[in-house]
Structure formats: C-alpha cells, structure tokens
C-alpha cells in the first residue's frame, strides 16, 4: 500500500516517499489505510494492541501492577494508611486516586509544567472506580468510628502512546487485585498500629485486628475501551499519533456484568449516532472479555510463583 495510488493528491504526492507523505499529509495517509480497513501498524480497525499485565511490580507498595497496552505503559501502586473515618460515614474507608504524567512519558509534557490531561484522567478514574462499586468501602473499616483504611492509589504514566485512560484503569484494577492489606493490631493505648509480622510473636501476643481480612473482594470489575470516530470508521485503542490526527474520542466503560459505567465523549468534530454508540459498546464488551482473561492469567501466574 503506497501513496502512489492515492487519488486526487496530485503528482507531488505520487513521487513522494511514504515517510514524507505520512508527515506532510497525516490525515490522507490514514484515510488511504482506512479505505482498505487496515491501520499503519497492521491492525484491523476494531482490534486493540497487545496487552500485558504484571502484578507486584513495586516491592515496597501494598499492591502494585504494571500494565502495557502496545507502548502505553502504566505503573500503579497502592499504599494504605490507617485514618479516623469521617463522622458522616463512620464505617467506611476512603480511596484517593491520583494520576501522574511525569515529563518522561511524552515529548508533549515539559518539566515544571503539569500536563493538562493528568487531572482530567484522575477525575475520570475516581468517578469510574467509585461509581462501579468495585470496592466495598465498608470492607476498609477497621473499628467503626475509630479506624479505617485510607487507600492511596498512585498511577504513573511511563510511556504515553494513546488510550491513556484504558491503560490507567487496567493498571488500577490489577493493583487492587494484587493488594494485600497490612496486618494491624491495637496497642495498649488503644491505637491501631502496624504489626510487623512473625518476629514479634514471641513477645506480647497482640491480637491482630484483621487476621482473616487481608484481601479485598472485588465485585463488578470495570474495563474500558477508547475508540476514535472518523467519518464512518471506528478505530479501537488508538495510538498517540492517531489521537493527534483524528480528534473524536469515545471511551466506554463496562463492568464484568456488562453494566454501563461510563460513556465519555468530550466533544470532537464527529457526532455519535445511536448505531455508532451501539457499535462502540459491542467492541468494548468484546474487549472486556479479553481483559478479564489477561487479568486472571496474571493472577494465576502470580500465585504460581
């Protein structure tokens, strides 16, 4: 497939190298590919890039995961702290989610200037994770009204090559599935302290507060897929290059019981009609099955080690 037969561009394009054509006429370059139902990276339109998840990537965190979708790489890590629950919800813990885009992730992010996309993705992630009710905040309670867990989830974007939200959500979900709640006990003053495991056992036997509850039960895990709408085409899982050329993005989040958690379309030159919305939802539900398989394989790999 070359630009040679790209009709209506003229002789200039006909004699041009493929790389030069790609830089000068990016949209035409893509449209020529789309006509043939293929993308420059040899993917069909509705197919996502290779995805992998590795659990336990950060040793010092209580739960962590490294997710890769194509070149897009996200590192998620969870730290837990004991806090006093708020008086409105004395039997619930709290989850704070922060998404970071350090300058290494993309040439568009410059040191000293925070990336504009970062707070938006943070907000989207906390909305999706809280509204999917994946985590039961009541499970994060230790002593009603006195102590509960504060969960700090930090997601670092290591390489931003498109579909940032999808990769961030995948790494967040994987980190929660890897989470091991630290053991805590109540000391003589009635305060909750971290007990550092087996070596203390010989001394005063302190009652462990959360002996059996060391894992969170995750119900209805959300997964997402971002698609680009361009004319009549729907491109699943776009790269950064595709996102910069074609600007209409739709992110659909479905959970494992196929409830719609979010349908996010922030503007863009192309309108989403009902049929397009249904196509995007169908692509997402297919992707959810793929991602569920990837996550469960990562968990079983982790247990085997």
């Amino acid at each position: 497939m070359g630009p040679r037969d790209g009709g209506g561009i003229g002789d200039l394009a006909g004699e041009m190298e493929v790389d030069a054509f790609r830089l000068l006429f990016p949209l035409r370059f893509y449209e020529r590919h789309l006509l043939e139902s293929i993308r420059p990276d040899a993917r069909p339109l509705g197919t996502a890039r290779d995805t992998s998840v590795a659990l336990g990537a950060v040793g010092s965190a209580d739960g962590s995961a490294l997710a890769k979708i194509g070149h897009t790489t996200m590192l998620a890590a969870i730290k837990m702290e004991v806090m006093i629950p708020s008086s409105e919800s004395p039997d619930e813990g709290c989850v704070a989610i922060e998404f970071h885009m350090p300058p290494i992730c993309s040439p568009l992010v410059r040191p000293g200037r925070p990336a504009v996309a970062a707070p938006v993705i943070s907000k989207q992630l906390s909305d999706v994770i809280l509204s999917s009710q994946m985590i039961n905040l009541k499970e994060l309670s230790l002593i009603t009204g006195k102590a509960a867990w504060m969960v700090y989830l930090d997601i670092y974007c290591l390489d931003a090559d498109g579909s940032l939200f999808d990769a961030a959500l995948l790494s967040a979900v994987a980190a929660f599935s890897n989470l091991c709640i630290p053991a805590v006990s109540v000391n003589e003053d009635g305060r909750v302290i971290a007990s550092s495991g087996e070596n203390r056992e010989g001394k005063t036997m302190k009652e462990l507060l959360n002996k059996e509850k060391r894992k969170l039960t995750l119900s209805c895990i959300p997964f997402s897929l971002t698609c680009i709408l361009h004319k009549k085409y729907i491109l699943a899982d776009p790269t950064a290059e595709e996102e910069s050329i074609m600007e209409t993005l739709v992110t659909v989040v479905l959970d494992s019981s196929t409830r719609l958690i979010s349908l996010y379309k922030p503007g863009g030159p192309f309108l989403a009609y009902t049929s397009v919305v249904q196509d995007c939802i169908a692509l997402t539900s297919r992707r959810v099955k793929e991602l569920q398989k990837i996550i469960s394989e990562a968990i079983s790999d982790m247990e085997a080690d």
């Binding site: 568009l108 504009v116 996309a117 707070p119 938006v120 943070s122 907000k123 989207q124 909305d127 509204s131 999917s132 009710q133 209805c220 600007e247 209409t248 739709v250 959970d255 196929t258 409830r259 719609l260 958690i261 979010s262 349908l263 996010y264 379309k265 922030p266 503007g267 863009g268 030159p269 192309f270 309108l271 989403a272 009609y273 009902t274 049929s275 919305v277 249904q278 939802i281």
Partner: protein, 236 residues
C-alpha cells in the same frame, strides 16, 4: 413507574429556562443562563491575537476558564474546562480566525454549555451550529427524569450529561444532513456519565434527551431571534 419529584415536576418537565445576553459591558459577548435555581454566567473575550504554545497556529484556539463562586479550582473544575473546551471547539469554525485565542470565562456543566454557547453567539463568533445540552438522571427504580436539581442528583443511581447539535435551518436539502437515516440533531457531541446503568437505560436516556433538546433548541432560537431586531434598530 412515576417518581415524585421534590418540586412537583413530571419526569419530563424541565425547570423554567431563562437566558439573557449582553449583560457585561467589557466582555465581547456574555450571557446568563438559568434553569431554575442553577445560574451560570459566561463571558467571551476574543478573538485575540496569538495562541498558546503547543496549539496549532493554523487554527483558532479556544480557552475555557472556570471560576468557582468560592474556593480554588480542583480536579473537577479542570475536567469541566476540558469537556467544555472540546465541545465548543467542535462547533466553532476554527479555520476562520487562525492564530487567535478566544477565552470563555464561566462562573456550573450542562447549564454551562448552554450559557457558553449563548455568549459565543452574543460575541458574534462564527459557529457551525449551536450545542444544546441536557442532563438526564436515572433513579433507583429505573425511570428517567430530565434536568435534575442538585438534591435530586444526589439521590440518583446514575446520571448523564448529553450535548446535541440543534437542528439547522439551511438551504441544503434535508436528506444530505441525515446520517444512516438519523437526523443530524440526533448525533451526540458530548456524553459524560456518572454512576452505573444498563446499556438499555442509557439508550432510553438518549431518546428522552433528544426530545428535550429539541424543545431547548426551539427556546434558544426564539431567544436569539428576538434579539436581532433590537440590534438593527440601534444601527439605524
């Protein structure tokens, strides 16, 4: 499945709409949009020369500044700014005034889109069409209510903001504006959802939102038209 609403509205009934434009003296365009007790003030400055870094100098850029009534701006406001900027970008003709910036300053979401749109019209910025925004709420028992108030919003299972284009009166034959048998005003410009719902419920919200948006776009059209004779009389 009727839900009783606190203010006695039927599920499909919107709060009273009001829109007044050209309130601010110094701004190039301004509008105040209210739906019941939710009031948004929008001001447009521009087009001004030059664009920010990382912006395409061949196109006009749009800047949205969200000013909360109290306190500092947080993540939520940053997200609103981004959604608004991308929605408005899609309705403006960006190629008409290249290398310029238009700033829109707003002091709340669906209501804010309508206000920003009215302010852009007031500033005389060329637009492809208007954007009409509506909020649909889904209550626990699965029924849809339109334009929920803040108190209602907190009790809802899920809600969604939808933005549709208004119907265009143009010389182009109507058939060419239809995409796959759906009229253009049924296409979604922006969709933001909170809370979990089934796919069917979402599609139901879409239908209800569309019928309400056509009422709102009628309101917008009437409101803007009533303004035009005033201007011409001033000019004369």
């Amino acid at each position: 499945m009727e839900v009783d609403r606190v203010d006695g509205r039927t599920p499909n009934q919107l709060r009273p709409l009001a829109c007044s434009r050209n309130l601010l003296n110094r701004a190039h365009g301004s509008a105040r949009w209210s739906q019941g007790d939710t009031i948004v003030l929008a001001a447009v400055y521009g087009p001004k020369a030059g664009t920010k870094k990382n912006e395409n100098p061949e196109k006009a850029s749009i800047e949205v500044i969200w000013k909360p009534k109290t306190g500092q701006i947080g993540k939520a406001e940053k997200e609103y700014e981004m959604i608004l900027r991308r929605t408005l970008q899609s309705i403006c003709h960006l190629t008409i005034n290249p290398n310029t910036t238009t700033s829109i300053i707003l002091q709340l979401l669906p209501c804010a889109i309508n206000a920003a749109c009215a302010a852009l019209v007031d500033a005389g910025i060329p637009l492809k069409h208007l954007a009409v925004s509506i909020c649909c709420g889904l209550s626990e028992n699965g029924s849809v209510i339109l334009d929920p108030t803040k108190v209602e919003e907190q009790n809802l299972q899920a809600f969604t903001y939808l933005v549709f284009p208004n119907s265009v009166h143009s010389v182009v034959p109507e058939e060419s504006l239809r995409v796959e048998g759906e009229p253009m005003e049924h296409g979604i410009i922006t969709s933001v959802t909170r809370g979990a719902m089934s796919v069917d419920d979402y599609l139901n919200c879409l239908d209800r939102g569309r019928s309400a948006s056509s009422k709102m776009s009628e309101f917008l059209r009437r409101n803007f038209q009533s303004k035009v004779p005033d201007d011409s009389s001033k000019a004369a």
